[in-house]
């Protein structure tokens, strides 16, 4: 298949003196959907933070489209086409919904059908109703939708979702899964963290299981499905 879009080698990271990640090695190939699994506190968000430049790795390297990015600043990494839906949404309190969708919009070649505000509103009609509301005037779920739409508005090469279905009503959750499947069909490369393991498996090409800052298992969804003992051990299900 294609050369890896993202490549992590020997990644070590942590907060202050405490180490959280101990030598992660993994690739994400273009067009692939990769699920990052693991129980709470195992370092999933930390991994993501390290990739997007929110946290400087203590050791190891991250290569995106052939260029090392582990020393880059967060904004530079984002402009290369890495978009994140962060844990806790982090909508901008003083931007309206509509502004969230136009302020960071970027076009990238190679995207067949770029996301426009109109398409994003079609995806989340609720946001269209709230277009003039400020980020802090939204309900929790509305903020979550906005965070996803905001990430999509940059038409990213690599989309990273950290618990993106958190706080969403079941119907909307369904909607998100459908949407991610659609994106996958369009060739969107995605890294997902979510607690709904079964739904994730249905979507992902490959799964990584993180246990105390180490990747203890990786494989296809079919393989994971077959090895239920992993679920109890590493996923707490």
């Amino acid at each position: 298949m294609n050369a890896p879009l993202l490549c992590c080698r020997g990644l070590e990271a942590g907060y202050g003196t405490s180490r959280v990640l101990f030598g992660l090695d993994f690739d994400i190939r273009a067009g692939e959907v990769v699920a990052l699994l693991g129980r709470n506190g195992m370092g999933k968000s930390t991994t993501i933070r390290t990739i997007v430049g929110g946290l400087r790795p203590q050791r190891g390297e991250i290569v995106f489209e052939g260029r090392p990015i582990h020393a880059e600043r967060a904004d530079a990494i984002a402009r290369l086409g890495v978009a994140i839906v962060p844990e806790g949404r982090q909508c901008f309190p003083n931007l309206t919904v509509h502004e969230h969708l136009v302020a960071f919009a970027a076009r990238r070649n190679g995207v067949a059908e770029p996301w426009t505000p109109a398409r994003l509103y079609a995806l989340f009609p609720r946001l269209a109703e709230r277009a003039d509301h400020l980020g802090n005037q939204l309900s929790g779920g509305e903020q979550q939708m906005l965070a996803i739409a905001r990430a999509l508005s940059t038409n990213p090469r690599l989309l990273i979702l950290d618990e993106a279905t958190e706080g969403l009503a079941p119907v909307i959750r369904e909607e998100i899964w459908r949407c991610l499947a659609l994106l996958k069909a369009q060739g969107q490369t995605t890294l997902v963290v979510d607690k709904y393991v079964e739904r994730l498996m249905a979507l992902a090409d490959r799964n990584l299981i993180l246990e105390r800052g180490r990747i203890t298992w990786q494989g296809s969804s079919a393989e994971l499905d077959a090895r239920r003992e992993l679920w109890g051990r590493y996923l707490g299900v």
């Binding site: 967060a74 978009a83 982090q90 901008f92 136009v102």
Partner: protein
């Protein structure tokens, strides 16, 4: 007290309000929108006034003086931004107060060393020195019309910039959650530097334009800082519209207080009391207004952030 007089005083109030807005504009941008408390804004205002006064005196060309003042002040501000301010964006307001207070102390001594402590000559451009007749029996200083025009232009420009342009959105995003804005690809450092420079340009513009009708001297920056802050706070921090409305309100209240309050009190109170009370009340009108607004609306008239 005839109608024309009342009308004239209203006009004076609006004019003063627009002057206040002009002075507060740069601060609205840097403090209100970018959420950075820059007390040294007054120093930039002073720099603008001093440079404009000197250039005008030397060259006789007022427009040139204003341009040079804005240019040089922006250059000074860029250096200050690079050395100090950019390290402050992420810190809390009090720390910003502390650091920029430090800059004021340094700036005042620097101005003293360069130009001395005596107030500088700053004359009105000859073409605008006299009054024009707005109405029969209502002469109005033509230079003030220029200030009013400048105030309105800046207000409109600022409103469009902040609310209608992408850079406005990026500034607001960066100010409220810098980390997230960076994750969205915004060069927050660059955007902030640009906005700070713009704020400095507005400060310098205000200083240069105010120089001909006010004293150009050390401390002039601190003297306008408080009214400018009052305006921003009454309007609601982060709202250009709020600052604009508040500036007009303060201008009107202040002017009305000075023009109508003493005679009104004289009509109802014993002369001795009225003579003491009237001017005293007029003097603190701005602060009373602020305290009243904030006790009713704790986040100003147009709260922009929730």
């Amino acid at each position: 007290m005839d109608a024309i007089f009342v009308f004239e005083q209203l006009l004076n109030g609006l004019g003063y309000g627009l002057m206040l807005f002009l002075i507060a504009a740069g601060l609205t941008l840097v403090f209100g929108i970018m959420d950075t408390m820059n007390l040294a804004h007054g120093s930039l205002y002073m720099a603008g006034a001093y440079i404009a006064a000197r250039v005008h005196e030397a060259s006789g060309a007022f427009a040139l003086a204003v341009l040079v003042a804005v240019g040089v002040t922006v250059a000074i501000a860029a250096v200050a931004e690079f050395l100090v301010i950019r390290r402050l964006y992420r810190r809390d307001h009090l720390v910003q107060v502390l650091a920029t207070f430090g800059i004021i102390l340094i700036a005042d001594d620097a101005v003293k060393a360069i130009w001395g402590v005596a107030p500088l000559l700053a004359s009105t451009p000859a073409a605008l020195a006299g009054p024009v007749a707005l109405l029969e029996g209502l002469p109005y200083p033509s230079y003030r019309l220029l200030l009013i025009g400048a105030g309105l232009t800046v207000a409109l420009g600022l409103h469009l910039l902040v609310n209608k342009t992408r850079i406005g959105m990026l500034v607001r995003a960066g100010a409220s959650n810098r980390q997230m804005a960076e994750h969205m690809g915004v060069r927050v450092g660059g955007v902030f530097a640009f906005v700070f420079a713009l704020g400095a340009a507005l400060a310098a513009l205000a200083g240069a334009l105010m120089a001909p009708i006010s004293a150009v001297q050390i401390g002039m920056g601190e003297a306008i800082l408080i009214p400018a802050l009052v305006v921003i706070v009454i309007g609601g921090i982060g709202s250009v519209r709020g600052a604009f409305v508040a500036a007009l309100l303060v201008g009107l209240v202040d002017t009305a207080g000075r023009a109508f309050l003493p005679p009104a009190l004289r009509a109802v109170l014993p002369p001795a009391v009225a003579a003491d009370l009237g001017p005293a009340l007029a003097g603190i009108a701005m602060y009373v207004l602020m305290a009243a607004v904030l006790s009713l609306k704790p986040a100003g008239l147009f709260p922009a952030r929730g």
